[in-house]
Amino acid sequence: MAFIRERQPEVLAEAVRQLSGCSLQQLPEVAHAVSGNVGSYQLPEAHAAVMELRRVLGDPASTAADVEAARSLTLSVLRASESGSTHE
């Protein structure tokens, strides 16, 4: 679907904006919404990265530092995907 390909850079940019701009308390709901978006726009690497973030968020043993590290890693994957899709 051409529409999906055309929209992928904007969807990734929005995902980065939402995940980087929310508080730790908001992060579970934001990650939940973002995972559905990037997956539906057929961005498997980005989706896997956000799902990993959700896994860390859902792990009762995770500390705030663990979550922030996972968020940082997820954002680096999204930015790399964003850069790749922009230059395609």
Partner: protein
Amino acid sequence: MSETVLVIDDQADVRQLIGVALKEAGYRIVEADSGPTGIDAYHANAPDLILLDIGLGSMDGLEVCRQLRALTTTPIIFLTSRTDEVDELVGFAAGGDDYITKPFSPKVVVARVNSLMRRNQRGDENSKTVYTAGPITLDTDAHEVQLDGEPLELTRTEFDLLLALMENPSRVVTREALLQRVWGDWYGDSHVVEVHISRLRNKVKKAGGPSVGVAVRGVGYKLGLDG
């Protein structure tokens, strides 16, 4: 005139993706980004089907569904990102007719919408027929079910399942036949039959009625009515 689908989701990208896919399939799309605006959009547009996200903000999708169900039997398909919500969505009091998990393929959305729309059309085209079994009366023309003369509120899916069983009161209807009859050519998880039958059975029981949709192990379901 095109059939109208109301898409209620707080994520603009999701609404846009669904909108493009369904417009290509010939549907008219109305969008809402929250529960309250979705209910307003229902009143303003009288949609033929509603796609409803569970994870809405101030008023969640389940509450929106409850409010819509007080107004209409219009088919509702839930959108959810949480697989752990699925049993709750299809099995209990939520009132939806189907669900789609995110991430989704636009083709799956179109297939599910087409399937539910065809079910509605088949219902509309049926000639007026009233089925009676024990204390239950089902009127396909009025789309009403009564238990001992009192109205019994069912979702579209529960109504269709009960109709399939009442059309065949003396035999077991296989799970595959119910899937085909109610969900059309959607080839999804047959678990949905079990949970919707369970919900139908609970509603009839709660209203003081007999046991309906009795499971016949390994085969399917029969109407029942054995108290």
